[in-house]
Each structure stands twice: as C-alpha cells, then as structure tokens.
C-alpha cells in the first residue's frame, strides 16, 4: 500500500511542479510577475519496527523568487528616471519655444532695432516710421505669445499634477485592497499568496513612477507605503488621499495637498512625474516667466525713458512708446510685463526721433571748439520734452582762464565757470545739473542735460543751447533721439548696467537650455542605472523559457517514473492476488 501512496505523493508533487513551471511559462510576459518554484520535501517516514521506510514526497511551499533589496532599488531608479523624464519633456518645450526662430525674442528685438535704425537714417520718412511701429508691434506680440505659451505650460503642469494625484489615489486604493486580500489569503498561517503579492508589488512599482515611495512590510503580510518625508499613503487596508490644493498666494499654481485637510506637501515630494512636474515648474517655467517679465519691464522702462526725452515729427513731447508704463509711486497702476506689454502709440508721426534741445555755434567763432548734447535726464515725472530749458544756456569761452562761463536763462547771478582745457578735457562730458557751484536760472533750477565739450575754442567763442521748440519746431530732420533709441540695442542697461536686452534673453535661453540639457543627461544616467538594476532584478525573478522547458522535461520524466510506481505497485498487488488464487 505504501508504494501506491508513495507513487501518489510523487505524482501530486510532480504535478505541482509541472503546474508551477507551466504557470511560469504562461506568465513570461506578465508585468510584475516573479517566477515561482515548488519546494518539495520528504514526507514523514513510517516506522517499521526497527527502521524507517520513506513515505514519499510532499510540496512544502511554492516559493516566489524575489529580492526585496533589488526591488527597492528598481523603484528608486524608476522614480528618479521618471522625474528627469517628465522634467526634460516640459523643459524641452520651453527650450523649443525660446529657441524657435519664429517666436524667439532675439529676432524680434533685432527686427525692431533694425527698424529704429531705419527711422534714424530717415527721420522724416513716414514709411520708415510705420515699419518701426510694425516692428514694435511684432516684438510686443512675441512677448505676449511667449507669455501665453509659458502660461499654457503652467496650465499643463497643473493639469498633469491633477491627473497624477488621481492616479496616485487609485493606486493607493488598489494597494490597500490587495493588502486586505493578502492578509485574508495568508489566513494568519503565513502562506504567501504569491500572485497577489506580485500584483501589489506591481502597483507599488507603478506608484514609484509617479512619486518616490518607501515601503514597510508588516508581519501580517500587508505593506505600508510612504511618500515624501514619511507621509503614509497606505497603512494596512486604509488609504490617505492626496488632493490638489491651490497656492493661496498664486491661484494659478496647483500644489499637492495631503489628507482631508489638504496640507501642502509639495516641497517634501520628490521623484516620479510629480517630482518632475514640481521641479520643472519651479526651476524652468516660473523663472522663465519672471525673466521674460523683467525683460519686458526693462524694455518698457528704458525705451519709454528715451522716447519721452524726444520730440515727435510735429514737435510734441514723445509719449510712452510702450504701455503700460512703469508706475511712478504712489500710483499703483498696472506694472508692465510680458503679458500686457503693448504699443503706446499708433500714429507714426508720434515717434519721437528729434532731440528736445539744440546747440547753436556762433558763426563768428574762430576756434574748433564744439559743444554737443550727450544726454538728457528725463527721469523727473514732470519732465516735458517741449520745454527742457526755461531759456537759453549761453556759453562763452575764456582762453586766458581756460574755462567756459555759462549762464542759464540770462540769470547772471547763477552763472558759473566750467574749466575746459582742450589739451586734457576734450571729449569729456559734463552733467550741467551736477556742477558745483550749481548752474541755475532765476527759479533756482539747473538744466538737466549732459554736454560733451571738444575741440580747441578760441577766446570769446560762444555757443547757445536752446529748446528745439523755441521759435517753432522745425528740426524734423533731427535724428539724435532716434540714434539714442537705437543705441539701446547694444547698451548694457539691464541688471545694473551689465546686460543688454539681447544679453538678458540669451542668458534666459542659456538657463533653460542648461537645465534641459542637465535633465537629459541625468535621465540617461538614471535610465542606465535602472536598466542595470532591472537586469539584476530580472535575473533573479524573471522567467527564462529555456530553463522552464528543461524543468518541464525534468518534471515530466519524474511524473512518468511516478506513474511507473503506480504500475509496479499494481503488478505487485496482482502478483499477490495471483498467489492467493
């Protein structure tokens, strides 16, 4: 009898092995499947009075071949790879946007300043002025487009965060219910339900694509899942939901809220798509928006300042070239940024290309002395380009004392002498508002202009500086303010006089490009690491069909042999019966 029993046990064990091998083969392409192995052991032997006779085999366990350490590593690298992947996807869009020739501010700035130069070349040409307005319109459009595109990226980030949070919650629920199922299936006896565990591990793997996770296995077979700096997502069978909350300071900024009260834990989250989305928003999209806004504001400030210094074709004071203008405290009007920048003037005649003051050299001067107006300070809110000076500035050179005596608006009491030695001072600039003692008119005001003195004036050579509007404006061919506007293209006016407009844009492009490039490289690195770790993990847990095929034959032969035990035992029994008959 025992032989039949042994044969039966062999058949059962081998059947189990065959089934497990078949299970392995059938799940060769199942995501998250870990190969299983039947562990056989001998059954308790029978004591036959003096010795033990073996009683066959039994399946002691179906083991899941699994390495916790490697699994954790795979998750870590998955999270990191996914973070850089998401980062680089979004950063590349910004990168493309800023670098594209059709949308780039670089070409917009170039076209605009080219048109400014054309107006400076032909200040009376309405056509050139119209082209300049068009160029400026294109430039403001570029700013607006960039702003709305970056806005759209921000919306995409918000939308993705929203979708991802929902996915996290679904996965959490899945993990929790599998935890439940596993606890029930193991029934407290510690028999591992391998396929349920595979499913749960697979869900955790999927979760790690969304955010970095940490896991902790409980003695009852359940796994607790934590994110961020230890915020628990799944505890046994219960789940704590994430939800989208908006930044109270910026309603356009979705943040990750934790638990029913929605505590903002964005700062604690790293890894996965969520980590990628949060960091690309923080390090690429938002800085790019801020820098584009700063560039727009800087352009408005400097171009408006220069434009309002000048006079239009009709001799009126130049208005704001771009709107909205920089608010002057205490006014709290809308500040200019890339989104709202627009043209302030529509009539080409209103472009202020002429300078508000002109120098007249006395025709009888015998020297080669020259006075040029180098700059005009229009920063005073009350500045009016049509009346920069209250009256003539009069210069007379005294060759004996090597100095110009200057009077303003005929006010002899406020006249001063300005030392000028052609040997040492030629081409030097003098700010007439900053002289000591001050040069003032009868009202005590100083002229807000800077002049450049050059050449060798003779004794009593004289010059006057007057408003261009004095005696009626006729200097329609004056292009000096146009040249000053064009000069802003190369002038280092931004960021404390260190960057031109083009420089600032270049730096912005470089920043985004560098971050994108870094993310690309990091992604490649993490991908490599992930592949290596996956390979190691798979080499432990993955199904190899050749191996399984060999096992199949091995177990098949064992099964055949076990069948033979039954046959033999049958023969033995028949022989026994035959002997009785």
């Amino acid at each position: 009898m025992s032989m039949l029993n042994i044969g039966t046990s062999a058949l059962i064990s081998t059947q189990g092995a065959l089934s497990t091998t078949s299970h392995n083969i059938s799940n060769v392409n199942t995501d998250g499947y870990n190969r299983q192995r039947v562990e056989q052991s001998t059954r308790l032997p029978n004591f036959e009075g003096g010795y033990y006779i073996g009683s066959g085999s039994t399946i002691s366990n179906v083991e899941r071949i699994f390495d916790d350490f490697l699994s954790d590593q795979v998750r870590t690298f998955t999270s990191q790879e996914q973070q850089f992947n998401t980062f680089s996807t979004y950063a590349r869009q910004v990168d493309d946007l800023l670098g594209s020739p059709e949308l780039s501010l670089n070409s917009g700035l170039q076209e605009f300043f080219d048109s400014v130069q054309e107006v400076a070349n032909d200040p009376t040409s309405i056509a050139a002025r119209q082209v300049m307005l068009t160029g400026a319109g294109i430039l403001t459009n570029r700013f607006n487009t960039l702003d709305s595109q970056l806005d759209a990226f921000n919306d995409q980030v918000n939308g993705s965060l929203d979708a991802t949070v929902k996915e996290v919650n679904l996965l959490s629920v899945g993990i929790a219910s599998l935890n439940q199922a596993i606890i029930e299936a193991s029934g407290g006896a510690g028999i591992p339900p391998n396929d349920l565990m595979d499913q749960r591990d697979q869900l955790i793997n999927e979760l790690s694509e969304l955010v970095s996770v940490a896991t902790k296995e409980q003695s009852n077979g359940a796994v607790n899942v934590f994110i961020g700096t230890g915020q628990s997502l799944v505890v046994g069978q219960s789940v704590i939901d994430l939800k989208i909350v908006t930044d109270p300071l910026d309603p356009g900024r979705n943040e990750i809220g934790y638990g029913p009260s929605g505590i903002n834990i964005s700062a604690q989250l790293t890894g996965g798509s969520i980590g990628g989305l949060l960091s690309v928003r923080q390090t690429v999209i938002e800085p790019a928006r801020a820098e584009i806004d700063a560039l727009a504001a800087g352009m408005v400030e400097h171009i408006n300042a220069q434009h309002t210094t000048g006079l239009t074709l009709d001799g009126n004071a130049g208005g704001n070239f771009f709107e909205p203008a920089i608010p002057i405290p205490p006014a709290t009007t809308l500040a200019p940024d890339a989104g709202n920048i627009r043209l302030g003037i529509t009539d080409p005649r209103d472009i202020a290309v002429a300078y508000p003051v002109e120098v007249t050299t006395n025709i009888t001067n015998t020297g080669t002395g020259q006075i040029e107006v180098a700059a005009i300070d229009s920063s005073d809110p009350l500045f009016d380009a049509t009346s920069v000076l209250t009256g003539s500035l009069s210069f007379v050179y005294d060759a004996v004392n090597k100095a110009y005596s200057i009077s303003y608006d005929g006010n002899t009491a406020g006249a001063i002498t300005l030392p000028y030695d052609s040997a040492t001072d030629s081409s030097n600039s003098f700010d007439l508002a900053a002289l000591l003692p001050p040069l003032v008119n009868a009202l005590g005001d100083s002229p807000t202009i800077t002049i450049t003195l050059s050449g060798v004036p003779s004794n009593v050579d004289s010059f006057t500086i007057d408003n261009s509007t004095s005696g009626g404006f006729s200097s329609v061919g004056d292009n000096r303010n146009g040249l000053a506007l064009a000069e802003l293209q190369v002038g280092k006016v931004l960021n404390g006089g260190k960057e031109s407009f083009g420089d600032a844009y270049g730096i912005l492009v470089a920043n985004v490009a560098t971050r994108t490039h870094q993310a690309d490289v990091s992604q490649q690195t993490q991908k490599g690491l992930l592949e290596q770790t996956s390979l190691r993990f798979e080499s432990v847990s993955g199904v190899n069909l050749d191996e399984e095929a060999a096992n199949l034959i091995k177990f098949q032969q064992a099964y055949q042999a076990a069948s033979q035990i039954i046959t033999v035992s049958n023969t033995v029994f028949d022989s026994l019966l035959g002997a009785i008959r």
């Binding site: 300043f113 007249t360 061919g477 293209q489 470089a510 993955g542």
Partner: protein, 440 residues
C-alpha cells in the same frame, strides 16, 4: 547570469528604439543643416549662436546704414563739385571782366552769366535728398535753406549722423551756412618794424558787419594774449586799420591809459565820435563803435601775463664760463612748458641728454659738464616769466662773471635786461615789468 526571456526581448527593442531616435536626430540635423536644433543640444554654443546672430544682424544693419550715408554724401559731394565748378566759372568771368578792352555789352553779358550762375548756386544750396529732405538746412530738413540769393539761412547747424558701426557715427550732411556763406573780413591790420611779430585778424563778425571781432597777435613783440604793437624801446612800430582808418603806434606811450588815448585820438581824427576806445576789467583793449552793436575786443591779459608765441632767438650770443664748469638756469615762476635750445638741440622741461639735465618744475638747470662754451642758444619763453641765469663755478670757487658775447642787440630786441646779481652770474630777467614785451 540568468537572463529573463522577456527582458532579453525588451532590451533588444530598447536598443533598436535608441538607434532609431539617434538616426532621427541625425536626419533632422541633415535636413535642417544645423548641428544644434534645440538650445539644450549644446547650451553654451547656442548662446554663442544667439550672440553671433545678433552681431550679424547688427552688422547687416550697419552696412545698410553705411549705404544710406554714402548715398547722402554722394549727393552732397556731387552738389559741392557743381558749386565749385560754378565758382571757378565766376572767377574766370570776374577776371575777364577786369580787362579794359571789354565793352559795355561784354560786361553786361558777363553780369548776366554771373547772375545765372548765382541762381544755379542757389538751386544747389537748396538740394534735396532722395527722401525729399533739404540736404543743406541742418535738422530743419523740411525748410528750404535759402529763399533768395541774398536771403538769410533758414536752417540750423544740425548734422544728421548715421550709425555705421559699433560706436561709429558718420555725419551725412553739412549745414548750408558753413558751406555757402563765409564771413567777410572788413578790417585789415598791418605792422611795421624790425620785430617778427604780426598782428592779424582771426575773424569778422560776419557778412555785412563792420568790425573785426577779434584781433590776435603773434610774434616776439606780441603775445597771443597780449596785443603788443610796440616794444619797450619804441624801436618797433605797429599799425592797424579800423574800418580803413589807420592807427599807427610808433612809440611807447608809457601806460595803458596813454595808449588808449593815442588810439582814440587817431580814430577821432578821421571819424570823430564814431568810436570809443577803452579797456575792460582785464585790461583788454575794447574798440566800440558808437551806435553799433559789435565791439572789437583785442584780447589781452592783465599786466601779470607775458611772453611771446615765437621763440626768442638770440642766435649770435654765446656763453662762456672762463674754463670752469658752469650751468644754465631758467627759473620759471609761471608755466612749465619752456624749451631751451643749445647748439641746435632742444632741451625741454624734463629732458635729459648728454650731461645736460633740466628739471621739470619751477627751476630748470642746465649743467655744462663737458664743454664750457655754448655757441648759440635759444630760449622759448612762451608764457614764461622768470629769470634766466648763467653761472660759472659757484660762489667762492671761481667767482668769475660768465661772458655773454654779442648779446647787446638781441637783448634789446627781446626787451631783456642783463643784471649782475652775483659775482659769478649773469642774469636776464624775463619779467613783464622789466621787459619791453608789453605794450601796457
């Protein structure tokens, strides 16, 4: 190592996809002809590209500007060439008109032609550029610079600059009054005398005005800042004209007031009550015409300044120190730009050559180490007031008065006085008070 079958396939697939991605990128590079498609492909290179694009576009615009500037200048050049040839023709006609063999009809024909040329010159002065802007009216480019031949200039002196390079601007026009008008010189000056000084008119107040505005003087008797028409000894006379009235100064009138009175008298003799001669607070000569707006100021400093523009040459004079080492010292208490020439070599302040050294500041000393004799010397005392000291030996060593040969006449010319202050020194004072280099 075990390899999972599924993973094996995955890896092969990934490798293939990677290659496809790389191929796709290369194809994109080929089709666009660009190595860098996105800035992130090479951040630092892409920023350079942006900068270069900017430079390139800027330079292109500069080229456009330069073309426009050249156009305007070509128009101006052509106009000025035409004007020059017309003036040439007018000159020819004027010369032709001088000929006494011309009949009345001939002269009339010449007058008609000159008139026509004048009209054409007017048309040239009113030339416009391709944009319709008047080329010769400064910034007032919509204003016709001259309405009639004798009309006054309607433009201003603005010059339109164009940016043709980074920091390079080129002016593309000239104001008409600088080209088509020139001040008439109505006052003439002549000088007589043996000195090298000249008195010349630098400018006039302009067309139609009567007075010369500024007289400037050069030469050994006159300084650029002091009108000096006569030397101390009265050996050099000077004369000048005021509106054709000759003023001749032939002697030392002793004081500023004396000279002023003399000039006033001479002017009144020809045109009583027309002019008033005075000096201003700086002792500058002012000749004002009665009822006239313009004033002739002969610039001159107060009595404290002195010196001459041209070098004071005392070529015949030599200096010997009786066989002992001596030196040459020029003490200068007003300015530092003095030049001493010895034997034809210039030693300027601060120079140092062949044992001859000269300090840069107040006191300059020339030590004659090798040779005790200087054959000729020349001192530029422009703006200098001080003492020129010749020393042989030092006090107590060889107290010999150095010999100054052939100095008499030159000293007189230069208005210098030789004084002996020490036994071993000859000293020339170059002070305004002692010298004849001052009129007043």
């Amino acid at each position: 190592m075990r390899v999972s079958t599924a993973y094996l396939f995955d890896q092969n697939l990934t490798a293939m996809l990677n290659q496809q991605t790389a191929l796709g990128k290369t194809q994109l590079q080929v089709s666009t002809g660009k190595e860098i498609i996105n800035p992130s492909d090479d951040p630092s290179a892409s920023v350079q590209i942006l900068n270069l694009q900017r430079e390139f576009s800027l330079t292109e615009q500069y080229l456009v500007n330069a073309d426009k500037a050249e156009n305007r200048q070509t128009i101006e050049e052509g106009t000025l060439q035409s004007a020059t040839s017309m003036l040439q023709r007018i000159k020819e006609l004027a010369v032709q008109g001088l000929n006494d063999t011309n009949t009345q009809a001939d002269r009339q024909a010449i007058a008609v032609e000159i008139n026509q040329l004048n009209e054409q010159l007017l048309a040239l002065a009113n030339t416009r550029d391709s944009n319709g802007d008047y080329l010769f009216s400064g910034f007032n480019s919509s204003t016709q610079p001259y309405q009639t031949i004798n009309g006054s200039y309607q433009g201003d002196e603005g010059q339109r600059s164009m940016q043709v390079g980074a920091g390079v601007r080129i002016e593309t026009n000239d104001p008409g009054n600088a080209i088509f008008e020139a001040p008439l010189i109505e006052t003439s000056v002549s000088t007589t005398g043996t000195g090298t000084g000249t008195l010349q008119i630098i400018s006039d107040t302009g067309v139609g005005d009567i007075f010369a505005n500024t007289l400037s003087t050069t030469g050994s008797h006159f300084s650029t800042t002091a009108m000096t028409v006569s030397d101390y000894s009265g050996a050099n006379n000077a004369s000048f004209d005021v509106d054709g009235i000759a003023v001749s100064l032939t002697t030392n009138y002793g004081s500023i007031a004396g000279t002023v009175t003399e000039i006033q008298n001479q002017l009144d003799a020809s045109s009583p009550g027309t002019y008033s001669v005075s000096t201003d607070a700086s002792d500058r000569l002012v000749i004002a015409g009665a009822g006239r707006s313009s004033t002739t100021v002969i610039s001159s400093p107060a009595t404290t300044a002195t010196a001459t523009a041209a070098p004071m040459t005392l070529a015949n004079m030599n200096f010997a120190t009786s066989g002992v080492a001596g030196h040459f010292e020029l003490s200068d208490d007003t300015v530092t730009n003095m030049i001493i020439a010895l034997d034809g070599n210039d030693y300027s302040a601060g120079g140092d050559a062949a044992g001859v050294q000269m300090a840069a500041d107040i006191t300059a000393t020339l030590n004659l180490a090798g040779s005790n004799t200087v054959a000729s010397w020349q001192v530029d005392v422009t703006g200098v007031s001080g003492h020129l000291v010749f020393t042989s030996g030092e006090a107590g060593a060889s107290a010999t008065v150095p010999t100054l040969n052939n100095v008499g006449a030159d000293l007189t010319t230069a208005g210098l006085t030789a004084v002996t202050t020490e036994a071993y020194q000859q000293e020339l004072e170059i002070t305004p008070d002692s010298g004849g280099v001052e009129l007043f």
